[in-house]
C-alpha cells in the first residue's frame, strides 16, 4: 500500500557501506560509525576525560553536522530555532550517552554490530525497543518538552561553527589535543577520507530524516515503516559488506569487537538509550543532523552527550569490552558505578517523563 522511500533505503545502504569501508580504512571493528563512541573520543581528545584508549578528535562528527548544514542551506531548510526545554534535553543527552556507553554503542553502532554478527547487539536491540515502547507510552499520555521558537541564525550555527574551529585546530595545532596510542581511539581511517564520507552521509541523513529511534516509533505508533526501512538497509549493507570483505564469521556473543556479553546490561543500557531518544525526538545521529540544520536544542543535547561521555569515563560508568590476551579471556562488562548510573538514569528519565506529561482534562 505504501510507497517505498528509496531515498531512505539508499541512504541506509550507503551508511552501511560507509561503515564497512571506514573500518577497512582503519576505524575500529564494527565501529565505522558510532555517534556515542565518537563523541566519547572527542571528549577524550579535548581532555574532558583521561581514558587513554579513547581519545581522538573524530572527523566523522564534524562531517555529519556540516553535511547536514550544507544540505539544509542548499534546500532552504536551515532554520535556527531553540527553546524547547534545553536544560532537560542536556540531561537527557547525558543519560542517553551513559546508557550507550554501558552497551558500547549508539543505535547506529548497534545496527552495525548486528550486521557484523555480534549477537550481544541483538540483546541491545531488544532493550532499545523496550525503551522506545516506554517513551511512546509517555508520548501518548501527552509528554512534551514544549515547542521551539525562531531564533537568530547565529544560534543555529553554534555547533557547526564550533566543530569547524575545532577541525582547523586539530589539523593546525594537533599538540593541543590528546591522541590515543593504543585501543579504539588509536584506530581511525585517514582524516580527510572520514570527513568527506561523513559530509555525504550527513547531507543524505538531513535529506532523508534518517533516525533509528524515529523509525521504530513511527512503525509502532502509525504503522509507518518509512524510517525503519533505513534501519533495515544499514543492517543489510553492513552484513553484505562484511561477507564480501571476508570479515563475517557467523553470529556469536563470544569475543565480539568492542563488545561485552553482560546481557542484562546490554539490555538495560539500551533501554535507557531508547527511552531517552524518544523523549528527545531522535537518536544521537538525528541530534547531530538536527543541530546541523539549526536546532539549538539539539546542539545542547550533543553537548549533554559529550559531558555524559566524559562523566562515563571519569567515574568508571562505561562498559569494558571482552578481551583475549595471551589466551586469558576477560569477559568485560559493567562495574558497580555503571550499574548504579543506569538506575539513576531510569529514575531521572521517569521524573522527566512524568513532570512533562500534561494532565489532560479528559
Amino acid at each position: 500500500m505504501k510507497k517505498i522511500n528509496w531515498l531512505l533505503v539508499v541512504t541506509g545502504l550507503l551508511v552501511g557501506a560507509a561503515a564497512v569501508a571506514l573500518t577497512a580504512l582503519g576505524n575500529p571493528p564494527n565501529m565505522g560509525f558510532c555517534i556515542a563512541c565518537f563523541l566519547r573520543d572527542i571528549a577524550g581528545a579535548t581532555k574532558l576525560h583521561s581514558a587513554a584508549v579513547v581519545q581522538y578528535f573524530r572527523p566523522e562528527i564534524i562531517g555529519l553536522v556540516l553535511g547536514s548544514t550544507i544540505m539544509a542551506i542548499a534546500g532552504k531548510e536551515f532554520k535556527a530555532k531553540a527553546g524547547s526545554s534545553p536544560a532537560t534535553r542536556f540531561v537527557l543527552g547525558f543519560f542517553v550517552m551513559v546508557g550507550a556507553l554501558v552497551f558500547l554503542g549508539c543505535p547506529l553502532r548497534m545496527v552495525i554490530r548486528m550486521g557484523g554478527g555480534d549477537l550481544n547487539a541483538f540483546v541491545g536491540f531488544a532493550g532499545f525497543f523496550i525503551g522506545i515502547l516506554i517513551g511512546i507510552f509517555f508520548l501518548k499520555k501527552g509528554f512534551s518538552l514544549k515547542r521551539t521558537y525562531k531564533v537568530n541564525t547565529s544560534e543555529g550555527l553554534v555547533l557547526p561553527a564550533a566543530l569547524v574551529i575545532f577541525g582547523v585546530l586539530v589539523l593546525a595545532v594537533p599538540a593541543l589535543f590528546a591522541f590515543s596510542e593504543s585501543g579504539p581511539g588509536s584506530k581511525h581511517a585517514p582524516f580527510f577520507i572520514s570527513l568527506i564520507i561523513a559530509l555525504v552521509i550527513g547531507a543524505l541523513a538531513q535529506k532523508s530524516r534518517m533516525c533509528f529511534a524515529g523509525g521504530l516509533r513511527d512503525a509502532v505508533m502509525f504503522k509507518d515503516f518509512n524510517l525503519v526501512s533505513g534501519f533495515v538497509a544499514v543492517f543489510i549493507a553492513v552484513l553484505l559488506g562484511n561477507i564480501i570483505l571476508g570479515k563475517f564469521s557467523g553470529f556469536s556473543t563470544y569475543l565480539q569487537p568492542i563488545s561485552h556479553a553482560s546481557q542484562l546490561w546490554n539490555l538495560l543500557g539500551m533501554v535507557l538509550v531508547g527511552w531517552g531518544s524518544i523523549l528527545l525526538g531522535g537518536c544521537p545521529l538525528r541530534q547531530l543532523i538536527l543541530a546541523g540544520e539549526g536546532n539549538g536544542d539539539s546542539a545542547v543535547t550533543v553537548l549533554g552527550m559529550i559531558v555524559g561521555a566524559a562523566f562515563s569515563h571519569n567515574f568508571g560508568l562505561a562498559g569494558s569490552a571482552a578481551s583475549l590476551t595471551d589466551d586469558v579471556y576477560k569477559a568485560g562488562g559493567i562495574g558497580t558505578n555503571g550499574k548504579v548510573a543506569v538506575f539513576i538514569g531510569f529514575a531521572v528519565l521517569l521524573v522527566i517523563s512524568l513532570i512533562n506529561t500534561k494532565k489532560e482534562a479528559k
Partner: protein, 84 residues
Amino acid sequence: MKEFIATFHTHADAIVAHRTLTDKAIDARMMPVPRKLSSSCGTCVRYSADESCAEELKTADFETIYNVEGIGKYSVLVKGEEDD
C-alpha cells in the same frame, strides 16, 4: 469533502488536535509529517472536512494547515500564530 494536513510544534499538540477533530466526528488520523512539508520528523494530523477547521485547531497551536491536492501535492492554506 476536502483533505487537509495540519502540522504542529509538538507531538502533544497533534494529540490535542486529533482529539478535537474526532470529537467533532471529523475523520482524522495522526501520521508522521510528510518529508515534503518539513525536514523535522514530527507528527501531523490528516483529516477530511468541508473546510480547514482552523478555528477548532487554534487550541492545539497548529503550525500550518495544508490543502492536500493530490498524492504528494500540498499547498499552504493557513499559517498558525507566531509562525516563522
